[in-house]
Symmetry: D2
């Protein structure tokens, strides 16, 4: 079968591989809709997860079940499915502790294009099909559905971890697709005022639709100062980090009030200095005593999460398709879509590739 792979750091290409084999509780799935992610760009061009050879890329997909193992009960060939980016081993130690995305080690629930081939192949393998796949609801568009596996799940997590209450004031740093879902998630958890920090016009438009009340641009001055001024010096109850460089925690903590949460869903692909560190501001953090928490997490996966996100779309709580600014048709357009993600033209939020079903 054919797949779009990382050949080595800095290089991608189409390769031929064996169709994956299906274990007794697994499924083999054909893609129906695919989306490249910034993480794919980090993986290939920044070597974020180390050097890999001929690793098929991608972790955002809708698909059609092609084969299931003999213990699978709820799915059969032909079923249209949502495939979460994170597919935990639900029985294991970290899941029993309440952290399924960390099964098998840090970030271990992330398997696609990390510990096995990703979804950018003609076929791909899904572990624990009954417990990681979800049925794609009738009537959900592919453009909307393909945002669930990672974008919604990650962006919403940013809001969920931020302990937002009804009427909280929230800042979202970065309005790529994850940040936009952070904005939507903040609104869905009850935020009142929402500052969205970013400049790209397409994203600004969607940020407002998703609930942002104030758009903050670095072009108008220091973003921390703008937010402090807008809040009368108080700062915000919660900050969701969905972008930024290695020193973004400095900004986040400097705009967070005493008694607040900084919730990170940003992948830090590089640090500062020889010891590879990320800085936090001593005074802005209140000398370690101002009740400012820093919380992290990896995109929740699994069937129940996907079903709940699907409900959010089907019951009209959010329209993810607004983020699909660039739609390609055909498996062979995948490379083009991925390169677009790398280039990030100003009118891009998220490229999507739809396949003939």
């Amino acid at each position: 079968m054919k797949g779009l792979a990382m050949l080595k750091i800095g290089e991608i290409g189409w390769i031929e591989k064996e169709r994956p084999t299906c274990g007794s509780r697994d499924a083999i799935v054909k893609p129906l809709a695919l989306a490249p992610c910034t993480s794919d760009v980090h993986t290939v061009w920044e070597g974020a997860i180390g050097d890999r050879h001929n690793l098929i890329l991608g972790h955002e997909a809708l698909g059609i079940v092609d084969e299931v193992g003999n213990e699978v009960r709820d799915f059969k060939p032909g079923d249209r499915v949502i495939v979460p980016a994170i597919t935990p081993d639900w029985e294991t130690e970290a899941a029993q502790r309440g952290f399924p995305s960390q099964t098998g080690g840090p970030l271990g629930g992330w398997k696609f294009s990390n510990s096995k081939d990703g979804v950018f192949g003609e076929f791909f393998h899904v572990n624990l099909a009954d417990h990681n796949l979800a049925h794609l609801p009738d009537g959900m568009s592919l453009e909307a559905g393909v945002m669930l596996p990672d974008m919604l799940s990650t962006g919403f997590l940013g809001a969920e971890n931020a302990k937002i209450g009804i009427g909280s004031t929230v800042a979202v740093l970065g309005i790529g697709p994850v940040g936009l879902c952070g904005v939507a998630g903040a609104r869905l958890r009850g935020a009142g005022r929402i500052f969205a920090v970013g400049t790209r016009p397409a994203a600004v438009r969607v940020a407002k639709e998703y609930g942002a009340t104030d758009i903050i641009s670095y072009k108008d001055g220091n973003t921390v100062e703008q937010i402090l001024e807008a809040t009368g010096g108080a700062g915000v109850d919660a900050v969701i980090i969905a972008g930024g460089g290695p020193d973004i925690l400095v900004d986040a903590l400097n705009m967070a009030r005493p008694g607040s949460v900084v919730s990170n869903v940003n992948y830090f692909g590089s640090g500062m200095g020889e010891s590879d560190i990320l800085p936090i501001p001593r005074v802005g953090w209140g000398f370690g005593m101002a009740d400012k928490s820093i919380v992290t997490g990896l995109c929740p996966g699994g069937r129940v999460r996907m079903e709940r996100l699907a409900d959010m779309v089907m019951y009209g709580r959010m329209d993810p398709s607004r983020m699909a600014t660039h739609v390609f048709r055909g498996f062979d357009r995948l490379e083009e879509a991925l390169l677009l993600m790398k280039e990030k033209p100003r009118d891009l939020i998220k490229p999507v590739v739809l396949l003939a079903s």
Copy 2:
């Protein structure tokens, strides 16, 4: 000064009283908008808080500050204010434990028309003005604002206590104004599907606007069975009780799935049997072992709560004025409004009385 009072159980009337006096941290406030509450009806006609004589009624008000004590810093005569129904003694033991509405004993934060005269007078007294009053934002309509002191605060609490997550399925029992705010609150906390149980057409219309996806009527059969059927037998993640008789917990627990929360914001004015009990279903409760929690609370009060609710309205998260179905003008229309609340015609959600300012 004049006030609309409970003369004794079953009887109301206008009385003359001394204008209340103002302590050093207190305020005396003139009403700007008033709303009668079902609790007023319970108090007068059901004797819910025992017999009282010449007690001025009412706990839902917007007002204009008439006088402040010499230690008050943030408010001055002429300021337009939101007056929470619950005005805690914030320094005291229960507040330090995290339960400000219970300061001074069960439900002790509820003072208006309970432990002192209510807001249905030409003037009324507010304790701890700096910490219990909030400024009424410019541009907020009186019809919207007068819903904050109790309706939004109580209905939202029902949702907040229900541990709703993004994509949770929720049932709201009762769609009076508190139940409607429970619906809105469930949506604001991230609910996907929301069942609203009720029949009154005006309320059904607003329930849909506020986020209900399914309307359940007892006229179509047993409401528990309808909800179980609609969820494929699973039941719901959370139930908000905002109405019903003494046995409503039976319904609530019977529709709640294992691992769920029943969140009560209903005032139980009467019980069943000689020992004055409320029944819960042994099997529906999972024999006491099915991880079904029952949570209660009294409307949160105080300045911060009111400011956060005001933000929700000003940032367009919810429009409470949709509930003001009957608007009266003039202090002397108050009795009429209260009697309307007692009669509950089918097109009523909430009566509101606006005063010349």
Copy 3:
């Protein structure tokens, strides 16, 4: 193989059955230590889970692995293991929601002597061996170890669910072995004063060793009044229900202060009245508005839980062997031990049966 079974409601006896077969991820285990539970008594003599025929009883065991499936990696024949009373299907929907003991329906994680044969056989079957069994630490006595599968896990859950903080005042209703573990659990979560309600001398002695500061007996008058008086009328921050009749929630709520938790780990085998209800007190519950929560749960199972409980014993945080008041040796003494549990002589806390290994 031989097993001690429920023949029908009200009757037990030894029966012959086929040795269970082992699935690919399962284990077959031989008992090393067994303990009868009050639940076994309820099952047989009260028909608590309905009529069953020739169902092997028991759910509290230590064992020796006899056989493992070909996918099992961490256990092999000969390993000495702790077998949790609750053995969830960790991949499934309820576990993904955070309620593993409810997998497959209410209380569905409870399989032994409920949905399959229990541990009172010469061999018994354990699902998901790698994820439900735990290694028995060297140096842990069998008398201590056999308390982990249910007594510690359930009693501690009572305390964990009760939101006890450092310095909380707690009441534990019932000082059978689960209640004693509730006392120990309350101390382990930081309780200050702990009221233990019970009278049996052997249990009273252990309650004090486990952290009870006050023993309350119904012989000295109404227990609610005694606790209210001892707390200056305030009541307690948390109540753990580990015994009592169908109306025990009335007592619990009447002694709970506003802003408190009633945490139930009692199995309610019967209710009151024709509609099979459990009563809660309208006034004692604060009319449904006094911030008094009622929380339930079923004993947590699985490997991680057992390992953590084992750590508590090995690091000297608690000595469960203090509860093993009656120790029998030999599989054939099992019936005697079970009948002792039924009779409950005054010097009994828990009977234990040790097998030759």
Copy 4:
């Protein structure tokens, strides 16, 4: 009156000041027992809170009430009291949000020797006496009691914030008096294994008494590696930081497993580099995605907290007097005690000064 003051950065001395005046809700208190704190050392010799002139030092005290304002109801002259280090303005905004130690700005609940004179005077002022003072229980030794205002409250907070569950594995970095209370607090919240990192023999002895199961010394090699090795590579569920330099977060995160909490109660008086930052390790933090939270807080104050801590001592849950290694008698020994704190001889845990009552 006389007081021991910071004259300027680097210099202390006895000064004369006016006896403070008492507001209507306040108290004036005479010291009964005093303890110098590492914070006093930071304040004077490191200029941690900036330059101050003739500021009376100290925030750890037991006292005798000398005068109360006319609104104070629960205390009268002659009462023996516990004085919390943190005395919040309980009505204010941050307290209403749930963060009383942050009232009036970051760390604003800390008033003694910060925003007003401290307790090292012949008399000192306490705001909101009814709500910040607690009665000293009969029978509590002064050596034990004087540990409550800061040491127990802060150290326990470290454990409370760390989300320790029954059987959690915890590391405590630093075993000064706050770290020792972190150890005790970890045990009181249910920790199984507790690593205490430190070397001073007197502290090591008390650490073991308070519940440490493993003592880790930098003299035996890298402490992170020692803890990882001891846990089979897994790391710990929680880290309590109670000491260390500006880069201690690096160690903490490197020993914390995915799905864990780093709970800081260390005052960071200085940072690294020109931008005054504190470093966290990019990889050890799991690239910002390994569910490792960093939580902070300032010592909880107020009456309820002190009463709960007093209960812990009176009910025998912990003996704080074990930390009073050096006891001085007489107000004039205070300077000597403070200088001892500065020098930190190896047999010191905490110096205490007892006054004739």
